[in-house]
């Protein structure tokens, strides 16, 4: 079941179409990656999902019905550009945001104390925000985002400003929240963390949804007919032996077991048996594995392809507003 569905969203700003017929479907209980180059329209889509701006056409279905302002209380959003009131005390501030999400004061305070204990930051309660470091303030912000136990969490670059230890702490919390039933939309440019966390992704480029799918499935699809060989022997002989059944052959560095490695692209999937046989004859073959593409490679490839196919009027138009 999908907790969130955006159907054929269109959003125009003066002289610029921020979203052009974009649809996404976010399955319940998964981590959903929302990727795309800067200015592609991610933030606009997230704002529409958050009921901050309204789409010009298209609809957002949340939990089986059309999204309304009340549903916002079921959503927790950590924007990429975020901040807190500097002069306010940490505790008062957290209570303020919790109350905006519909919690009453005592409920909010109880929950907050729990989270502050868990993050070991109870001593910050009475401090003013301006006394905290950036990373500390980010932790408070994370708590404020998830405190009201929303069904849908939206994190936009959640790890920026965190050291690796705290980033790991945050990753674990995000996965824990997912395991407890929350759905997470995760927007980032950090591709290794997408591989680590996301189940599904959507890639937006130039206001269009250009790629959607299951992360593992995409990685093997993009790695189709690509194999990595590890072997010992004469690399040139191997390359010659494989030349007839490969489109592309690339020598790689030695792997961690001091074995030679080579990456090949077969002309089609039927050529695999033949390639294995040829390789076996030429060298001592240790392994012949399908290559898993990194999300980073997929990102670059998909964006490049979509930029080629788009008509010239869809060239990215940089305007001065923040990702409008």
């Amino acid at each position: 079941m999908n907790i969130l569905q955006a159907n054929n969203i269109v959003k125009d700003y003066t002289g610029h179409r921020a979203l052009d017929n974009v649809s996404i479907a976010v399955p319940q209980g998964k981590v959903y990656g929302l990727l795309g180059p800067n200015g592609a329209g991610k933030t606009t889509l997230i704002r529409i999902i958050n009921h901050i701006t309204a789409p010009d056409s298209g609809e957002v279905i949340f939990d089986g019905h059309r999204l309304t302002q009340n549903d916002v209380r079921q959503i927790g959003y950590l924007p990429e550009e975020r901040g807190l009131y500097k002069k306010m005390r940490v505790g008062d501030q957290a209570l303020f945001f919790a109350q905006l999400k519909g919690l009453n004061r005592s409920q909010a305070e109880q929950e907050l104390r729990k989270w502050f204990d868990r993050f070991d930051i109870s001593s910050w309660w009475g401090k003013k925000v301006e006394e905290l470091s950036k990373g500390m303030a980010q932790k408070v912000q994370f708590i404020v985002t998830v405190l009201h136990r929303p069904k849908l969490l939206i994190f936009d670059e959640p790890f920026s400003g965190f050291d690796p230890i705290n980033a790991q702490l945050l990753k674990n919390e995000i996965l824990r929240l997912r395991d407890e039933g929350a759905t997470v939309i995760f927007s980032t440019h950090n591709m290794p963390s997408v591989e680590e966390l996301c189940d599904h992704i959507t890639l937006i480029n130039n206001s269009h949804n250009i790629l959607t799918g299951d992360v593992e499935e995409l990685r093997s699809r993009y790695g189709k007919d690509k194999y990595v060989l590890s072997y010992q022997g004469d690399s040139h002989a191997l390359a010659q032996a494989l030349a007839s059944c490969c489109r592309e052959i690339q020598m790689l560095d030695q792997d961690k077991n001091q074995r030679q490695t080579m990456e090949i692209s077969l002309i089609d999937s039927d050529a695999r048996r033949n390639a294995i046989a040829e390789a076996n004859k030429a060298v001592e073959l240790y392994s012949f594995q399908p290559k898993l593409m990194s999300m980073s490679d997929i990102f670059i490839k998909a964006v490049a392809e979509s930029n080629e196919t788009l008509p010239p009027e869809f060239n990215p138009q940089m305007i001065t507003s923040n990702e409008f």
Binding site: A54, Y85, M88, F96, F97, S321, N322
Partner: protein, 419 residues
């Protein structure tokens, strides 16, 4: 939604009212104003003027016995002395030389002093000399019982003014009304500027911190803007109410004391003190001040809010704020003119136009104006602030997500037209 508006208003209000600067200005300002009023008077009473001795060289022979000294001013008659040596003699603070033809040539009088003479002293001397010359001239006519006739003819007219159009015939003082009106317009002017700019700077700050991005994920931008304006408006009302209480207390306790100390021949001052001592009058003034403050504040602060949402920093705002500053400043200038003639047709029109009405009304109000005019003015003001808030919210909604570009008025107009 509504409860969110309440949470926003509450935060805006408490965060400001709890600050030391608010508490200090709220309590100290009235004390400071009282001090400004009373300290000069006290200083005048307390300060003992130095006693002065003035040597009089009377060449006319008619003056010397008519000059009366006071306890601070002693006249010493020095006849046939050398004026040059007198001038060098530092026992005297001044030398008064009266020409021999004083009766025919009244400007033939010189006063030499070692330090600057006071206006009071000079006035005192010329008064007495005029009196003496007048007496001499009158005596030339040789009229019987002259002094008796003069005493009978002496008169000092005192006028009391009453208003016929108000319900009761009430003694009024134009001077007092004028001053009260100006003080109230100035107060409103300061409130609109200070609190209006507070709305703007606080929105710019929220935008810069990106706290706004977080808040709008829970609250509609419109509610956020309205919450801020209402919260700060509540702070302004709190301040004016506290001042109202302090001034009412002064009106009840302090003014009766003052009434006793005012000399009975100072009619105008008496009436003014009486006017300020009338609690009903003071409360009425404050009630109107509060109503016009709310209307004017909502009108102007929503303009400030729209500007604050559009810019990234105060420097960029300066050009746009002139749109707001100019009518506020014009209003205070108009209200000074209106206070001179509170019932001119210009005054009536300016007190209906919403941009000038709050301050112009404050200037006219103490003179007493028909109730319907107040209601019409309030109705127009409140209707236009509703429109302005609605318009500002449309600009705000777009402006808060705009970064990096210095917007022009044209941009604001375009944003207001977005669906």
């Amino acid at each position: 939604m509504n409860s969110n508006l309440y949470i926003i208003v509450r935060r805006e209000y408490l965060e400001r009212v709890k600050t030391k600067s608010f508490i200090i200005t709220t309590i100290l300002m009235p004390l400071l104003m009282l001090a400004l009023m009373f300290v000069p008077a006290l200083v005048m009473i307390m300060a003992e003027p130095e006693s002065k001795t003035i040597a009089v060289v009377d060449n006319s022979g008619i003056i010397s016995n008519s000059l009366d000294g006071t306890k601070d001013l002693t006249f010493v008659l020095v006849n046939n002395a050398d004026t040059e040596s007198l001038k060098k003699n530092s026992d005297y603070d001044g030398i008064l030389i009266i020409g021999s033809d004083l009766v025919d040539n009244p400007s033939n009088v010189q006063l030499y002093t070692h330090s600057a003479s006071s206006m009071e002293t000079e006035g005192f001397i010329t008064n007495q000399l005029s009196q003496a010359v007048r007496n001499v001239r009158l005596q030339k006519y040789d009229i019987d019982n002259l002094s008796q006739i003069l005493a009978d003819a002496k008169v000092n007219v005192k006028m009391s003014t009453y208003r016929l159009d108000s319900e009761e015939e009430k003694e009024t003082s134009s001077t007092a009304s004028y001053l009260i009106g100006l003080v109230m317009s100035m107060m409103l002017y300061m409130f609109l500027l200070i609190y209006g700019q507070m709305v703007m700077t606080s929105i710019i700050e929220e935008k810069n911190n990106r706290v706004l991005e977080v808040v709008v994920s829970s609250v509609k931008p419109k509610a956020l803007m309205l919450g801020k304006i209402l919260g700060i408006c509540a702070v302004a009302i709190t301040q004016i109410l506290i001042w109202g209480v302090i001034i009412s207390a002064c009106s009840v306790w302090l003014m009766p004391l003052l009434t006793k100390s005012v000399p009975s021949d100072e009619m105008d001052l008496m009436v003014a003190v009486g006017q300020l001592g009338d609690l009903g009058y003071v409360l009425g003034m404050f009630g109107c001040l509060t109503l016009f403050l709310i209307g004017g504040f909502m009108l102007y602060s929503s303009m400030y809010a729209a500007i604050g949402s559009a810019v990234d920093n105060i420097q960029d705002a300066s050009q746009l704020t002139s749109i707001v500053m100019v009518p506020i400043i014009l209003a205070i200038i108009f209200s000074m003119a209106v206070a001179q003639d509170p019932n001119s047709s210009m005054a009536v029109w300016l007190s209906i136009i919403p941009f000038t009405s709050p301050m112009v009304m404050m200037a006219r109000l103490p003179f007493g104006i028909p109730a319907w005019e107040i209601w019409v003015s309030l109705a127009v003001l409140y209707a236009s602030f509703f429109v302005m808030v609605w318009l500002a919210a449309k600009i705000y909604r777009v402006g808060i997500f705009m970064y990096g570009k210095k917007p022009s008025v044209k941009d604001l107009v375009r944003w207001a037209q977005y669906k």
